[in-house]
């Protein structure tokens, strides 16, 4: 009986698959090609034996022999091969297999002895285990990383929090560039400037073990943007999309041009959203927005050794409703420039030199003209338009030296930040004079850092990595009135500040077996106060209703942290467990000064500990199961209460199914109740547990069209996450539909 049922099921399943994917079968009809190649170390040219080669999106794969040679049979088509070997950075190689014989491949792998980052590849690596490369937004992609939670203030530009830490405790950089939010209410996180079509990958460095990008105690998120593709002489792509929950209309386009030594890429996107609905059709008033973003990239190769890259990102948004805050963003304007020169050295031992200059200007206007100011409890009966501006100019020089089994990076990281913010207060009563306050009276910061990043492959089983980072920072207020304000507030004539911060980390990795590794990492790091923590003046914090003033005399936060990572990887499954403990001294927190005013102060000690589990299993039949969960526990020892905005136990499970270029997924996201919350340093409340289910699909129709179709929060749950400011609810059931068309020549 049982057997019979099984037999009748099979044709059904087969028919469904065939119906859903009318094109996958075509792959079988095409010819097959043999791909041959060799994998060598980029450092010294020696072969990398036993490298695993996976054809992404399929169960195909092979491994190199002891001489680094491999052979793979593939039908004609486009593929992404992933080369991974212990002690080397994984590499993804795009391959177009034709009917003709393919040239032998020469794959160079970069030694990377211990990687602390979770690399979320968005694009290039199609059908990646974790990420739908055409997810609707960068925020959705960030949320996929188990250690990242998103702070929600609107239906726009969520702010990432890494292991319960955000803002100054983590570094968020774009291609390594430092960009500082202009809005004193943190309405404009840096992640907002990289649209999903421009995101190549996101490196999430948890903890302060890898300090090459920033001095932080919580970690760093580096958003690596897409660059022009030399393999696509001409390519055009466009996407139109719609989301039902907020009547979101979206258009994205991309253009790629490449000649032998020059390549260019341009993208443009525009979106407009009305107010959204929370679960159960609860309207969230004043939550619409509109935004456009463009990016321009030029790359020129000069011979074999020189590469010059220029990129520009422009981002403009307007009329962004912030239901969780007192104000709405009226206009934001960002310009981000980068010029990078990469040089591969011909000298043995000296591998490369990368030099990057960057400049960015972020401007942000907000106001409460659309609000009823007569009925609010905070500063009633007045409008408070605010303006903020940051300008950052920086230079990064990276030297890379290699010897057999050794890799040393020496990085010089210099930047200058100028930040300004002010607020006008216009009473609705004409007899009251206008008031004006300088929130940041033209702060100027000069930062210089030197970083040493050293990797050492002790043996086949043991690997070592250490980081040393020294930061020097000089800061002051340039505006005369700003200086008067702060020196009056702190009763000190000198608000100029000079800091030196020292950070060091060491990690050792042990290959227990070929498939299992154990890693132990220790770090002592310091992070400098942000310009707001030093020089902010009367910054209103909606979460606790206090006005915060910066403290020029703050000490750097000092962290001691340890992490243990166990990882097991086989062809069919991967499992990883991270446990960490982060002890923070001189923790910077707002303390009540009087009435509704707080000042930033160092409190003696706090800690955050937690664990993260991720696993993925190939179930066979193109089915992939992913699960990830994280738990953090933060405690403020001085106040004997939990640290604020620590995510509860949360995570997600997804089941993905792919055939050819089409793809389906069912994924859920859950968070348990958070009953541990801060009530002294800020005013939080408990958060209930939630679970939402999303269903997504991407269907290929012919050579030029792909359809994206899905539903988020399929059961229309009304919920909010613990990191939602003012308990702003998450989005209700959202149907989305996108059409993606392209023209490409190869």
């Amino acid at each position: 009986m049982y057997n019979k049922q099984k037999k009748t099921m099979r044709p059904y399943l087969f028919i469904i698959i065939v119906l859903l994917h009318p094109f996958w079968a075509m792959q079988f009809l095409l010819g097959q090609s043999i791909i041959q190649g060799r994998v060598t170390s980029q450092a010294d040219g020696t072969p990398v034996p036993l490298t695993n080669i996976n054809v992404l999106g399929s169960l195909r794969g092979t491994a190199c022999d002891t001489a680094g040679m491999f052979e793979l049979t593939l039908p004609a088509g486009e593929y992404q091969l992933k080369f991974s070997a212990m002690g080397f950075r994984s590499k993804i190689y795009s391959l177009n297999v034709g009917r003709h014989k393919t040239e032998p491949l020469s794959i160079l792998l970069e030694p990377a002895i211990i990687e602390f980052s979770d690399e979320i590849v968005v694009s290039g690596e199609k059908l990646l285990d974790k990420i739908d490369d055409w997810l609707n937004s960068t925020d959705d992609i960030l949320q996929k990383e188990e250690s990242v939670s998103m702070i929600r203030r609107a239906n726009f530009a969520l702010e990432p929090s890494l292991r319960g830490m955000s803002a100054g405790r983590i570094g968020v950089v774009v291609d390594g560039m430092k960009i500082f939010s202009a809005c004193v209410d943190r309405m404009d996180p840096v992640t907002a400037y990289v649209e999903v079509e421009n995101l190549q990958k996101m490196d999430v460095y948890k903890g302060s073990f890898d300090m090459t990008k920033a001095a932080s105690i919580g970690g760093t998120i580096n958003m690596v943007t897409k660059k022009p593709d030399f393999n696509r002489p001409f390519g055009m792509q466009a996407e139109t999309g719609y989301e039902s929950i907020s009547q979101l209309r979206r258009f994205r386009s991309e253009l790629n041009y490449a000649s032998k030594s020059f390549a260019a890429r341009a993208t443009f996107s525009i979106k407009k959203s009305d107010d959204y609905f929370a679960g159960g059709k609860a309207p969230i008033m004043n939550s619409g927005y509109q935004k456009n973003n463009y990016k321009l990239d030029f790359v020129n190769r000069f011979g074999l050794r020189h590469l010059l890259e220029f990129s520009f990102i422009g981002d403009n948004a307007g009329d962004i409703g912030y239901p969780a805050l007192l104000m709405d963003a009226r206009k934001t304007k960002s310009q981000i420039y980068r010029l990078e020169h990469k040089w591969n050295s011909p000298f043995p031992g000296f591998q490369s030199l990368n030099s990057m200059f960057y400049f960015n200007r972020i401007e942000h206007w907000m106001d409460d003209f659309q609000r009823d100011v007569t009925r609010r409890s905070v500063m009633p009966n007045m409008y408070m338009p605010m303006f903020g501006k940051t300008k950052t100019l920086g230079f990064i020089e990276e030297f890379k030296f290699t010897r057999p089994n050794h890799l040393l990076k020496v990085i010089l990281d210099v930047y200058r930040l100028a930040a300004f913010a002010d607020m006008k207060m216009i009473s609705i009563f004409p007899q009251v004079s206008d008031m004006y306050v300088l929130n940041i009276g033209d702060a100027i910061l000069y930062n210089t850092a030197v970083v040493l990043d050293y990797h050492w492959m002790l043996s086949r089983r043991w690997r070592w990595r250490s980081n040393l980072r020294v930061d020097d920072s000089n800061r002051d207020i340039r505006d005369e009135n700003g200086r008067r304000l702060l020196s009056g507030f702190w009763n000190t004539g000198d608000i100029k500040q000079t800091y030196a911060a020292f950070s060091a980390s060491a990690a050792i990795e042990y290959g227990i077996t070929k498939n299992q590794t154990l890693q132990l990492a220790l770090a002592q790091s310091e992070r400098l106060p942000t310009h707001s923590e030093n020089y902010g003046f009367y910054l209103y914090n909606y979460t606790d209703g206090y006005f915060y003033t910066g403290n020029p005399l703050l000490q750097p936060e000092r962290s001691c942290q340890a992490e243990i990572v166990f990882e097991r990887t086989t062809a069919a499954a991967q499992f990883r467990l991270n446990t960490y403990f982060n002890n923070i001294q001189n923790y910077i927190s707002g303390l009540v000064q009087y009435d509704e005013f707080k000042v930033y102060s160092n409190i003696s000690s706090a800690y955050i500990a937690g664990l993260e589990v991720t696993g993925k299993v190939k179930l066979g039949g193109s089915l992939l199961l992913n699960a990830a969960a994280a738990y953090s526990y933060g405690q403020n020892r001085e106040f004997n209460e939990p640290l604020p905005y620590i995510p509860p136990f949360e995570g997600g499970v997804s089941l993905q199914y792919s055939r050819g270029s089409s793809w389906f997924s069912a994924d859920s996201r859950f968070g348990s109740a958070q009953k541990r919350f801060a009530s002294q340093t800020t005013l939080e409340d408990a958060t209930d547990a939630f679970i939402i289910l999303n269903l997504r699909s991407r269907i290929q129709l012919g050579d030029f069209l792909q359809i994206k179709l899905g539903v988020e929060n399929a059961f229309d749950r009304f919920y909010h996450e613990h990191l939602s400011i003012n308990n702003l609810p998450g989005r209700g059931r959202n149907f989305y539909l996108g059409f993606n068309y392209w023209i490409s020549s190869r």
Binding site: M379, N381, M382, M425, S427, F429, V432, S433, D434, M435, Y436, V437, L438, N481, R483, R484, L485, S487, G488, F489, W490, N491, F537, Y538, Q593, Y594, D595, E596, F597
Partner: protein
Amino acid sequence: MKRIKILITLLVALLFIINCEDSTSPEKATDPAEGLALIGEKTVQNTEVRVYSDKGLEVGYNKIYIKVTDSITDKLVEEANVSISTLMDMGQMKHASPYENPAGSTAEEGLFPCAATFIMSGMWELHVNVHNLDNNDVVEFQFDVEIAAAGNTKKVTGTDSMTYFITLVQPAAAKVGLNDFELTVNYQKNMMSFPAVEDVIVKIEPSMPSMGHGSPNNVDPAHQQHGHYMGKVNFTMTGDWRIDLNFFRGDSLMHTSYDINVQ
């Protein structure tokens, strides 16, 4: 090219002229009363007396400067006994106001500093008496001054039933940040005498009525000398501020307030 040459020549010439002007400016002995407003003058025998104030006189604390010169030699007289007094003649009654005379008989930076606190607007008489110690000339004269209305002096009746005059001296032009805060306190002994009060405890509380908040780091004024009290007031933003003042003198209490617009 020719044009550029001409331009450069002109530029050099201009620089030269500017430099010349700077270097040849005469180094005259500066007049100690420069920048002050002359409000009255009189010459008796060989002594010329000129009376100055910072600006136009108004209700409140006004600094008065007396310049005494030898009218023959045109030299400043550094040694003199100088005194002033004020009088308002209202027909059926006359009254004076608080005033301050130089502490000694030696000029400070060429001038004899005095002060008059006018307690109401209108026409006042300013009486000046100068005894030139160099030549024993005595110059005594009076003149009328028009006192403009202003809110700097408050008449307050204490719970001890005495009449006090509280005068805001500083800040004259309030700015954001810490400002010196200076008051004078006098009481009315009789119509002609307004002695300084030196034993009052003053508490200040600045606030923005439209915002409902105050500011930190204010320093309550403490007595310096001759009824002058010095403290600090901190304005954290521009706009309309109100400073509430509470005075404690023995068992007596007083209250007043000032409205200040911070620019």
